[in-house]
Each structure stands twice: as C-alpha cells, then as structure tokens.
C-alpha cells in the first residue's frame, strides 16, 4: 500500500490526476518496478500483465468496434533511488477502435535507474490510437530511459504519439520509435524534451508511409542548456502513391549545450512528397526582447519562449 501511495504522489507531481484511479469509468494500470499495484478495466479493453524478474510483460487488446471514451491511465515507475524496470508491451488494437492512453512514468528519486520500454503495437483498420507519455524524473539525473516502439498503422487509421519529458533531469534518454503506415492512414509523432545539467538525449523517430495517400508528421521540440546534449534523427520515407510526409525539428540551445538534428527524407513513389524543416539555435533574440518589452526580466522572458515551444 505504501508503494501505491508513493506512486500516486509522484504521479500527481508529474501533472497527473490521481482521482482517475478511483473512477470506475476510467481504466488504469499501476506498476511499481515489477509489481502490479492496481488494475481496472472497462468493456472492450483487455490488459494481461505478467510480472517478470525486472519488470512486466503486458498484453493489451482493444476489441473490435469498441470506442473507449475516457483515456486509459497508466502509471509506471520506481520510487527507490536504484532499480531496473523493463516493460514489454504487445498491443493489438482491432478494427474500428478508438482508444487514448495516458502514461505517466515516474522516477522521483532516481540515482541509478534504468527504465526500458519495448512496445509492438498493431493497429487495425479504421482505428484511432493515441499514446501520450509524460515522464517525471528527480533532480539527480541518475536515470537511463530507453523507449522503443514498432508500430503498424492499418488502413484509414490514425496513430498519435506525444512524448514529453519536461520535469526533472532527463538523464540518459534514447528513444527509438518506428511506424509503418498503410493506405489513407495518418501518423503523428511529437516529442518534447527539456534537458539540462549533463543530460544526454538521443531521439530516432521514423515513419514509413507505405500506403496509398498515407500521411505522416514527425515533430520534435528540444531545449538544452548547461552541458546537455541532444541528437535528433527524424526519418520519413514515402513509398505509397500520393503519400505525404513532413519532418519538423526545432532545438534551442543555451549555455554550453550542444544540439544536432539529422532529418532524413526519402521519396520512393514519384507521386509522393516529403518536406522537412529543422532549426537549431539560441533562443530567438527578437522573441526574448518582445517579451522583455512587456516588463519581464531576461531570464523569465527566455523561460516563456522556451516554455511555449515545449508546451
């Protein structure tokens, strides 16, 4: 019970609403290290967790035709300073499904923690799958986060991922999401991270638009300061007839921080198109001066500009 309470406290600090875990209409899963502390399901949703030595294996299924009206709340984390959590997810989202997941990963005291998430997600046809992941780390930076996902998006389906790590130190972060998008399906991947201290951020996101008239957007917003470093590799491949992709990366660098952006765009079908934009630089001087001209000091003005970009 103590772990459960501590997890929910950390969840609240990360911006989550713990009352969701008491609401019978909202499905949830709470996992501390390799222990399932809470689980509640709603009709159409099946979650089968299996505890392993260093984490859990989860089979998640959303049955055909079910539209889950409220976001499914997931809470993963480790409360002690040290530990390892490996989460393997096999998700099958059947045809004509609508589901939104809100995952909070909390490591408030991390000194030596490794969090690995490997997901295989298969989305059927005419479905909507949204995965929002919010991380909350402590201030010590002793954490390594490795999220990996392979996703197949079925015909006329929509996949949205939104990853944000804006509270606490990032530590070492190495994300790799790859998605394959079928006919008339839509992919949208957004990542927002704020690194400082000696944080190391590595992001690799790829979209393969194999389907006819498929659409893809990969968007990254990264801010680094102090001696933090970031590297973003965004890859979009357009194979399908009339497929359209766009890659958009903005990184703001302050102090001694370093940032690198590598957009890779490839067009295989003659009727396909991919565009990209990438910008790395200091905080825009004019933006900062504009805010300062309303009476805010420079540091606060920079926070507003950077905070807006990461919002």
């Amino acid at each position: 019970m103590q772990d459960y309470k501590l997890m929910l406290d950390a969840y609240k600090k990360s911006g989550g609403a713990p009352e969701a875990f008491k609401d019978s209409k909202i499905a949830h899963l709470v996992v501390h290290k390799n222990k399932v502390l809470g689980k509640h399901l709603v009709e159409g949703l099946i979650i089968v967790p299996e505890e392993t030595e260093s984490g859990i294996n989860v089979i998640l299924t959303v049955r055909k035709g079910f539209r889950i009206s409220t976001p499914v709340h997931l809470c993963f984390g480790i409360i002690p300073e040290e530990g390892r959590q490996e989460i393997n997810i096999q998700a099958k989202v059947e045809d004509n499904v609508r589901i939104s997941l809100l995952a909070h990963c909390v490591f408030p005291n991390a000194v030596k923690i490794q969090h690995i998430m490997k997901a295989n997600i298969e989305i059927g046809d005419n479905a909507f799958y949204e995965y929002n992941e919010v991380h909350f780390h402590g201030e010590k930076g002793g954490i390594e986060v490795i999220p990996q996902a392979k996703i197949k998006v079925g015909k006329k389906s929509q996949l949205k991922t939104n990853f944000s790590l804006l509270k606490g130190r990032v530590g070492v972060f190495d994300l790799d999401y790859q998605a394959e998008v079928d006919d008339e399906a839509v992919l949208e991947m957004i990542t927002k991270i704020y690194g400082y201290g000696e944080d190391r951020i590595k992001i690799k996101e790829g979209g393969r638009l194999t389907g006819k008239a498929s659409r893809g957007l990969i968007k990254s917003r990264i801010a680094v300061r102090d001696e933090a470093q970031s590297e973003v590799v965004n890859e979009m491949i357009a194979e399908g007839e009339n497929s359209r992709g766009h890659v958009d990366c903005v990184e703001i660098v302050q102090d001694q921080a370093l940032a690198k952006a590598i957009p890779i765009v490839e067009v295989i079908h003659p009727l396909a198109q991919v565009t990209h934009e990438a910008a790395i630089g200091r905080v825009d001087k004019k933006q900062v001066e504009t805010v300062m001209a309303r009476g805010l000091e420079e540091e606060k003005a920079i926070d507003i500009v950077v905070g807006g970009m990461l919002k």
Binding site: R221, K286, M292, R294, I304
Partner: protein, 258 residues
C-alpha cells in the same frame, strides 16, 4: 515639472563606422501623438530600438531621458516597467503561447475582462482568438492587431508604434488610426513611426527624418509644406500624391539638412 515625457539629446548610433543616427534631438510631450515621418532606410526603426534599448542599440553619443531619468543603458524590461514599450513593425511569433498569454505579459495582474476588451478594441473576436497561438498561423494583419491589443492591456506611459499600418489593408487603416487616437485618450503618449504622410496627419507634432537625421519638426501640416517647398524628393512612399511634381521640389542636399 517637465511636460516632455521623452527627450533625446544629441543621440548618435554607429554601425561599423557608418552613422545610423546622427545627433538626433527630439522631445515628446506627455499625452501627445508625435510622429516620426521618413522614407524606408531613414533610421526610424533603429531609433525605436535605441530608445527601447534593444541588444546592440546603445547610443554612441547623447542622452535618452524618460520620465526625467537618463535611461541610456537601462535594459528593455526595466524601461518597460517604467512604462516605455514598443509595438514592433514585424512582431515576433511564438509557438505555444496563446493570445491570452501574450496579452497578459504586460499586465501587473492578469485580468480576463481587460484581455477580452483589448481584443474587441482591435476588432478581433475574443472567442475566436483568445486560445489561438501567437504563431505562424496568424496573418500579418492579425498579428499586428494583437500587438496593438497588448499595448492596450499593458497601458504604458509611452508606446513607440513602429509602422502600425504596415501589412494592414486599406479598409482597416481607418480602424488603426482610431485605435491610436484611443490609446492617446486613455493616457498613453504615442511615438508614431511611419513612412506614410496620411498616417502622420493624426499626430500633434511631426519630425521628418532622413538619413539618420531629424531634418525638421513641426505640425504635420508644416512638415508636409516643408517637404513640398524645401526638401529634396524622398521616395514616393512618403507623399504618393505628389509623385508627379517631384521636379519642382528639387533643392540641394544642403537645404535639406537644415
């Protein structure tokens, strides 16, 4: 008690040995609209950045006095807290910052009613705009109006309006003029920077600027007259109606530098 809210005494600004502003003297009376009229490249925006204190715009010579205080090296935010601000010619765009956030930046305490009022003041529907981001999705005209609305919520003592009419369609021009007049009525002194003589006409006083110099100061009518009789022809943007008579107006450059 001086009635001049802003005074520039012999202000000069150099860029790599090039004189951008040359011994500029200016007095802006409290509660007035004072326009700076001049062609593109005359140094008007540089003057605005110098007064407000933008990075790299410190005067090489002279004094900027605001509210009886020398503010030469004062940072922008401190001047803004004193009540001196700028509405930019091409205002910055902000990803993730809503119109509501932006309009509340200059307010001592956030006041939702006042934010709504400000949007109505610039003829933007609050329901449509409040939660929109001040980003690239706004048109140039919308962004300019939001800039003016931010002045309305801030209620500065003095605002420099840098080309408030640029990017605004002809039909909306009248609105902009009314908005500037309203700012004055509400107690804000306006330093209006423009290259259009018809906008300059709403001012109480006008200074004609050319090549970094204030060439002449007077009423808007006097300045118009001065140009017609004494000044070398400037780009037609200032006095478009007179562009067919430029030959008659040619005088020596020496005369222009009176």
């Amino acid at each position: 008690m001086r009635s001049d809210l802003l005074i520039l005494e012999g202000v000069s600004l150099k860029r790599e040995d090039r004189l951008i502003l040359n011994n500029v003297n200016l007095k802006v009376k409290k509660g007035s609209i004072h326009s700076i009229l001049g062609p593109n490249g005359a140094g008007k925006s540089s003057l605005a950045y110098l007064i407000i204190g933008c990075c790299d715009y410190l005067p090489d010579e002279g004094n900027i006095i605001f509210c009886n205080r020398n503010v030469n090296s004062m940072p922008i935010w401190e001047k803004a807290q004193m009540g001196l601000t700028l509405a930019w010619q091409e205002p910055a765009r902000f990803e993730g910052l809503t119109v509501e956030d932006y309009l509340s930046l200059g307010m001592k305490e956030k006041n939702s009613d006042k934010i709504m009022e400000a949007l109505e003041f610039v003829l933007l529907d609050p329901q449509k705009y409040l939660k929109r981001e001040v980003d690239r999705t706004l048109s140039g005209g919308e962004r300019k109006r939001i800039e003016l609305a931010s002045i309305f919520t801030m209620e500065p003592k003095l605002v420099i309006l840098d080309e408030p009419d640029s990017g605004i369609d002809v039909l909306a021009l009248e609105n902009i003029v009314e908005m500037i007049k309203t700012l004055k009525k509400r107690g804000t002194t306006v330093l209006l920077i423009t290259h259009r003589e018809e906008i300059s006409q709403i001012a109480d006083r006008t200074s004609l600027m050319c090549s970094g110099l204030i060439v002449k100061e007077g009423t808007p009518e006097e300045i118009a007259q001065y140009y017609k009789t004494k000044c070398i022809p400037c780009p037609e943007k200032i006095f478009p109606a007179d562009r067919n008579n430029t030959d008659k107006k040619k005088v020596s450059e020496k005369d222009a530098r009176l």
